[in-house]
Symmetry: C2
C-alpha cells in the first residue's frame, strides 16, 4: 500500500513530498523523498511508550488529596496498593484497553508494560497463573497497539531482604516460577508482541536472583527493564545496604548494555551520568509521573552531552500524551536552571526535534521492536498530524515539531497506524465507544467494591 | 432562564442537584442547592485569565530553538520584539479573536489584556491612537469573552531611566498621553468590558510617573497590574538602582491593596511573601509561560500559608488551558520540594479544589468584575464539563476537581457561557471555523512579510 506525506519525519529530520510503501507484513519498503507532488499530511513515526503500569490508569486523580502531614511517593504508594487489590483479569483487560485507545489517539504505537499485578489479592495463583499477563496481551490485540510485555520479578520488600507485605502478595514470584512465566509468554511473541523481563528494583530483587535471571535468559535482544534511583530514600537505603548508589551498583554488578532500560534514574552523580551514557542503555524518563510523585529532576543536559539515550513513558498515566511528557521534560529543566532550550545545542538547535528524535530512538531500543523510524524494513507505525490546525498556521517544517510540542493544548493526532493498519481516524480509535462503555462498567464495579 | 446542575461548584465546594436562574442582564439569581432531582451536568464558574499578551499567541512555538549559547528570557524577548513589529490592528484583531475562541473553549470566560502594542512600529500614532486597543475590544465583543483591558504604561528601558530602544518604540507613552488613552477606553465600559491600568514594570515606569498615574486615577475599584520580580536580573538591577528588591520597593512606595495584581512575583524573600499576602493584592501566576521562559518557581506553599491570594494567566499563550496552568503550578512545587500535594493542607485537603478555588477568587479580584462564583448578583459565567468522559468514570464529587486538573489530556469543557450567553457548545465556539479561517489568512500575511 502506497502512502504519501507532504512532510515525513526521518532520523535526519523532515523530508518533503515523500512516498513510502507498506508490504503485507506491515513493514515499510521503498521510502523515497521528493517522489510525490502536492502530497498532504505531516507524517511522523509512532512514539514508543517505554513504561506503563496499565492498572494505574483507573486511579488517576484519586491521590491528589493530602492524607499525611508530608505527602510523598510513599504515601501515594499506599493509595495505589489499596486500589490494586481490587483488580482482577477482566478489570485489567477493560482498563488496559481504555488506556491503549488513549495511547493510540495520542500518537503512541507501542507500550512497554512493566507488569507486576500477577496473582490474586492474597497471593494465590489464578487458575492460569498467566491470567493477568494475558489480559494485557488481549487488550493490546483488541486495540492494535504494539506491546512489549515485561513481567516483573518482585521478591523482597527492602534491601535487607525482608518479606513482602500482605498488600504486595500479588506481586511475588520466586526465580523458577518467574522464569516459567517468561517462557510461557515468550511463546506468544509476534510482530506486535515482544516479551522481555523487568526487575522491579534493586530493593525488590536480591543480587543472586538478579544474576540467576540474567544468566537463564542470556539473549542478545532481550529487553531488560528496571526501576532505579527514583527516590532519594531508595538511594540512601542502597548506599547503606550495599555501599554504593543504585545506578553505580547496577553498573558494577550487571553487564548493562543496549538491552537495558533504567526507568527514572532521577538521582545520579556526574560519574553515574557518564557511565550510564557510555553503557548504551536507555534512561526511561516519565516526566509527568515523576512530577506528580515529586521524584525530582533528571540531569538532562549533562546526560545528553555525555551521549546518553532516553525515551519516555506515561508510567502511572496521570497523563497519556507524548506532547506533555516531552514539553515538561524540557520545562522542568528550565525551571531549575533558569534558562531556555536546555535540551538543544549548536548541532541540534531545535529543542523539540532533539527531544522527539531522542525519544523515538530510545523508545524503540527499549521496546526491542523495529520501530521508531519510517525506514525500509521497519514496522510501519505512523501518526498523521492535523495540518489544518490553527496552531500550525504559518509554521514551516523547521518549526513544526517545536510548535507541536511546545504550544497549544488540542491533540493534533488525526490518524494512527500500527504495522500499516489504520486504528485511529479523525482522531478517534475505531473501537473508542465500545471500549469506553466497558471501562465505565468496570469502574462502576470497582467503586462498588470499595 | 433556569439552569440545572447535578453538581454545581460554589465557594463552599460542590452542591448537588442545584438550580440557578439568569436574569435578562446575564446575572445569577436564586441559586438553590437540592432544588432539582435528576439534573445533569457538572457546572463550574468560568475561570478568569488574569494575564494575556494576545499577539504572542501567533508566535507560540517559534522560540524553542537555541539561538544563543545560553538562551534565556532575554533572548526570547528579542524574538518576540521582531515578531511584534509586524502586527497591525487587523492582525491583532484576527489573532486575539482566535485566542479568545481557544480561551472560551478551555473554560476561561474573562481575560485581562496587559496591552502594550499601542503605536505603529516606528512609534508614530495610528490615525486613531486607540486603534490597537480597539482591536482587542472588538475581538472580545465578537467572541463574547469578558475583557479587562489594561493599557500599559511603558516609558523607559531600564532602572537608569534610559530611553526605549527602537524596537520598543511602539510601546511608548508619556503620562498625559497615557491618561488620555485610559479615559478614552473607560468611556466604553460595559458589563463585559472593564478598563484598568497596567504599569509595565518598575524598570519601565519611573517612580514619579507611577505616582502621577495612581494619583490621577484614584478609584477604589480600578484594577492595577504590574509585571514584577519575574527575572533574577531584574531583582539585581532594582537592588542596585533603588536599594530594594522590586516587590519590597513597590510595597514601600505605593498603597498596594486589593486593586493590585502583581504579575509573576516569582522571586520573593520570606518577608516579601508575608507583606504581599497581607496587602490583599493578587499574585498573578503564569506557570506555563514561567516554565517556558525559565523564570523560576514561585514560593507557593509559604504564600498560601501566609493567606496570599493568587490567580492564573496564560500570558504568552504557549498554553491556553486552566488545567495545564494549575496542574503545573502544583507540579513545579513537587519537583523542587520532592513532596506531594504542596498546595493542600489539613483544612483544604484536596489540592485541586484548593488551587481551583484560589484561582477563581483571585482571578475575579484581579479582573475587577463580578465573576468567579455562581452566586446571586454575579455575572453568569459558567462552564459545563463532560460528565460522560471516561476520565470521570467512578469519580464522585469529592475527587472531581482533582481528577479534572491532575489527570487526562482531553479538554472536558463541553459548554461555556458568559453572562448567561452560550458561546461554546459541544466543545466548539459558535464562530470557531470563520475565526480560524481569518486567523490562517492573517498568519499567511505575517509569514510573507517576514
Amino acid at each position: 500500500m502506497r502512502h504519501e506525506a507532504a512532510q515525513l519525519w526521518t532520523p535526519d529530520g523532515f523530508v518533503a513530498d515523500a512516498v513510502f510503501e507498506v508490504d503485507e507484513r506491515g513493514c515499510c519498503i521503498r521510502v523515497d523523498a521528493r517522489a510525490s507532488r502536492g502530497a498532504a499530511g505531516i507524517v511522523l513515526p509512532g512514539m514508543p511508550n517505554l513504561h506503563s503500569h496499565a492498572f494505574q490508569r483507573a486511579m488517576a486523580g484519586l491521590a491528589e488529596r493530602r492524607m499525611h502531614p508530608h505527602d510523598s511517593f510513599w504515601s501515594w504508594r499506599e493509595t495505589m496498593y489499596g486500589f490494586a487489590a481490587r483488580i482482577g483479569p477482566d478489570d485489567l483487560h477493560a482498563i488496559a484497553a481504555q488506556l491503549y485507545v488513549e495511547m493510540l489517539e495520542a500518537g503512541y504505537t507501542q507500550v512497554c508494560e512493566f507488569h507486576y499485578l500477577h496473582h490474586r489479592p492474597d497471593g494465590a495463583r489464578y487458575e492460569d497463573p498467566a491470567a493477568m499477563s494475558l489480559a494485557l496481551v488481549e487488550a493490546a490485540r483488541e486495540t492494535g497497539i504494539g506491546l512489549t510485555l515485561l513481567p516483573v520479578l518482585y521478591m523482597t520488600g527492602g534491601f535487607d531482604g525482608r518479606a513482602l507485605s500482605p498488600r504486595q502478595a500479588r506481586f511475588r514470584h520466586d526465580v523458577d516460577g518467574y522464569l516459567r512465566l517468561v517462557e510461557r509468554l515468550r511463546a506468544l511473541e509476534s510482530p506486535r508482541l515482544r516479551v522481555g523481563v523487568a526487575l522491579h528494583s534493586l530493593r525488590a530483587v536480591p543480587a543472586d536472583a538478579l544474576a540467576a535471571v540474567l544468566a537463564a535468559l542470556d539473549d542478545a535482544s532481550l529487553p531488560i527493564h528496571i526501576h532505579i534511583a527514583e527516590q532519594v530514600a531508595e538511594v540512601e537505603d542502597c548506599l547503606a545496604a550495599r555501599g554504593a548508589r543504585p545506578v553505580e551498583w547496577l553498573l558494577d554488578h550487571a553487564a548493562v548494555d543496549e538491552r537495558w532500560c533504567l526507568v527514572h534514574a532521577t538521582h545520579l552523580t556526574g560519574d553515574e551520568v557518564r557511565r550510564l551514557a557510555r553503557s548504551g542503555a536507555v534512561a526511561g524518563l516519565c516526566p509527568t509521573t515523576e512530577a506528580n510523585l515529586g521524584d525530582g529532576v533528571f540531569p538532562l543536559r549533562d546526560f545528553l552531552e555525555a551521549g546518553g539515550r532516553l525515551g519516555i513513558g506515561s508510567d502511572s498515566h496521570v497523563s497519556v500524551s507524548p506532547v506533555e511528557e516531552l514539553r515538561w521534560l524540557e520545562y522542568g529543566q528550565r525551571l531549575v536552571t533558569r534558562s531556555r532550550n536546555v535540551a538543544a545545542d549548536e548541532a541540534a538547535p531545535s529543542t523539540g526535534e532533539r527531544l522527539f528524535a531522542a525519544a523515538l530512538a530510545g523508545g524503540a531500543q527499549a521496546s526491542g521492536a523495529p520501530i521508531g523510524a519510517l525506514r525500509d524494513g521497519a514496522r510501519a507505525d505512523a501518526v498523521v498530524l492535523d495540518e489544518a490546525a490553527p496552531l500550525l498556521a504559518g509554521r514551516d517544517a523547521r518549526c513544526l515539531i517545536d510548535t507541536w510540542l511546545f504550544a497549544g493544548n488540542a491533540n493534533l493526532v488525526r490518524e494512527t497506524r500500527v504495522a500499516g493498519e489504520r486504528l485511529v481516524e479523525g482522531g478517534r480509535h475505531r473501537a473508542r465507544d465500545s471500549i469506553a462503555a466497558r471501562y465505565r462498567r468496570c469502574m462502576a464495579r470497582l467503586v462498588e467494591a470499595d
